[in-house]
């Protein structure tokens, strides 16, 4: 049973989608092209004089109509994983390539940032000593690393992974450090009075206590990584969804560009939803 409120919000969602589609449809309707010389384009004789056919007097916009987009999308998504060499790969294949890069770079970032965050959170001295560097490195756009990475690493694939790594590292590190540092003193006192040994302290108390904050950092990190991978692949890629977008733009295939942009959004949403699910499972009420 849908509640009144749910029904209303569902209706509004649907209405806004319809609105967008209508605006799209109307703004891509065929329209009379305007001559830069102020002569009505509709003048067929003039057009013929200018060596153009009269048929071309009403030019179609380059931007696809919703219908054309849908037809193209169905066609493209029909074989999303086809692979006919580097210049002709399916959109699913490209998306997969991007996801794989993100998983590797982001996975490495998590493996480094979470333990380091624990050190920061448990040892305020180390946190204090290293914090200035973190604060300088953190606001650097991942793309600014690109030239340095390209020069030192020299491998485009590793470069993209490095960019993912470096941009998702900071939010995870800082959130983990914060989460560990703000573990309630009471709980630490409990494990001290119970003489709990270090591995147990770590895995049964510190980790679960800080887990919700760590996952907040991991969600931010994954979001940043997904933003960065598209840009990075536009610059250096020979595969990946960012490369695909750029390639289709060069082919002037706006339908494919729109499709790719939509898929980027959907994939980003799915990634965040997966982590949100994990976060819900480790959340606790005090």
């Amino acid at each position: 049973m849908l509640s009144q409120e749910n029904r209303l919000s569902f209706f509004l969602s649907f209405a806004s989608l319809l609105g967008v589609l209508l605006i799209w449809q109307f703004s891509t309707l065929p329209q009379a092209s305007r001559s830069p010389y102020g002569i009505p384009d509709g003048n067929a004789e003039y057009q013929r004089l200018m060596g153009r056919s009269a048929v071309a007097s009403t030019v179609r916009s380059d931007f696809p109509t919703p219908g054309a987009f849908a037809r193209n999308a169905i066609e493209v998504l029909h074989a999303p994983f086809h692979n006919n060499g580097p210049n002709d790969r399916g959109i699913g294949w490209q998306l997969g390539a991007s996801l794989l890069r993100v998983m590797i770079g982001y996975g490495l970032a998590t493996l480094v940032a979470v333990p380091l965050g624990f050190v920061f959170g448990l040892q305020p001295v180390i946190q204090k000593a290293l914090n200035p560097f973190v604060q300088i490195l953190r606001p650097i756009s991942p793309l600014a690393w690109m030239p340095i990475a390209l020069y030192t690493i020299r491998d485009a694939e590793l470069c993209a992974i490095f960019v993912i790594f470096i941009c998702s590292l900071w939010p995870i590190l800082l959130n983990t450090a914060f989460g560990v540092a703000s573990i309630r003193r009471e709980w630490l006192n409990v494990i001290r009075t119970l003489e709990v040994r270090w591995p147990q302290r770590l895995f049964f108390v510190l980790l679960p206590a800080a887990a919700p904050t760590i996952l907040t950092g991991m969600r931010i990190g994954l979001g940043v990584a997904w933003l960065a991978i598209v840009a990075a692949e536009m610059l250096v890629g020979s595969s990946g969804i960012g490369y695909f977008v750029w390639n289709q733009w060069n082919n002037l295939s706006l339908s494919n560009v729109i499709l790719a942009v939509l898929l980027i959004g959907l994939a980003g949403m799915a990634l965040d939803a997966a982590l949100a699910f994990v976060q819900r499972s480790v959340r606790y009420a005090e």
Binding site: W187, T193, L194, V196, E286
Partner: protein, 280 residues
């Protein structure tokens, strides 16, 4: 160790030979420039004894308990337990914290199991669980074992905290206002349970409280602290009531009102006088 003889005539005596815990002239100073929170605090806790510490808010009761638990170090003096100086927290002292301090991501049973496992590292899994269940049943929580702390009432949480402290079978149980946040009814119920369990297990207890009646009901001995800053242990009063007392009949016992008036009078009037005398 400088104790004003007018304040604490008994403390000049040497410690009891059979004392389990010997507190000798401890003091605590959080800031080097200001006065200490308290100083020159000495007392003994004998095995099986139930000792209550009463004093006004801020006089340093929690600090004393934290020093006994080993979570904090005294600025002066020391605490000896079983012939060894206390230098850090340990399983021989169970602590019931002022806030319940349960781990919120674990159920009541898991909280207690965690403590049992800390105490008995090599015990088989099912025995650990049985033991945890036994202690939860002892505080009347069989039905709520699988609930998380957030799903329990304040009284139930506090009882889980007590079960967790008991299940490690500590030599001394240290309790910091364990019933402070509870309503009078729940409080009375848990007090009775606690007294029953302590009598059964011969548990040695050191407990902090604000409540005079709670102290009279539970304690064999009541320690009274003067007001801070630089608070002192002003009196060490033995409870004249028989150990068979119950909460309902306690006030019919001979000497109940004399003892109660003595304690209340201390808190209302003499705690401040004692401070004046101490600071001079």
């Amino acid at each position: 160790m400088q104790n004003s003889p007018a304040l604490s005539p008994t403390f000049a005596e040497p410690h009891d030979a059979d004392a389990l815990v010997q507190v000798s002239g401890i003091g605590k100073r959080y800031r080097p420039d200001g006065p200490p929170v308290f100083s020159g605090v000495s007392f003994d806790i004998r095995p099986g004894e139930f000792v209550c510490l009463i004093g006004h808010s801020g006089c340093g009761k929690s600090s004393i308990l934290n020093i006994l638990s080993g979570l904090e170090q005294p600025s002066e003096g020391g605490v000896i337990m079983d012939g060894r100086e206390i230098t850090g927290p340990g399983l021989d002292r169970g602590v019931v914290f002022q806030g319940h301090a349960l781990l919120p991501w674990l159920t009541a049973l898991q909280n207690v199991t965690f403590a049992v496992r800390a105490r008995h590292r090599h015990m088989p899994r099912h025995e650990i669980r049985e033991k945890a269940e036994h202690y939860l049943a002892m505080v009347g929580l069989e039905a709520a074992m699988h609930k998380k702390p957030a799903e329990l009432s304040g009284g139930m949480r506090q009882r889980v905290g007590i079960a967790r402290a008991f299940c490690t079978q500590p030599r001394v149980l240290l309790m910091d206002e364990p019933f402070g946040a509870l309503d009078a009814l729940t409080r009375g119920m848990i007090q009775e349970e606690l007294l029953k369990i302590c009598a059964q297990t011969q548990q040695t207890v050191f407990m902090i409280t604000h409540d005079v009646d709670e102290a009279i009901f539970l304690a064999d001995r009541v320690l009274l602290m003067s007001n801070g800053p630089d608070a002192r242990l002003a009196e060490d009063a033995y409870n004249p009531l028989p150990r068979s007392r119950t909460r309902e009949t306690m006030h019919h016992e001979d000497g109940f009102y004399t003892f109660r008036n003595h304690l209340v009078d201390f808190l209302v009037r003499r705690s401040a006088l004692a401070q004046k005398a101490a600071t001079g």
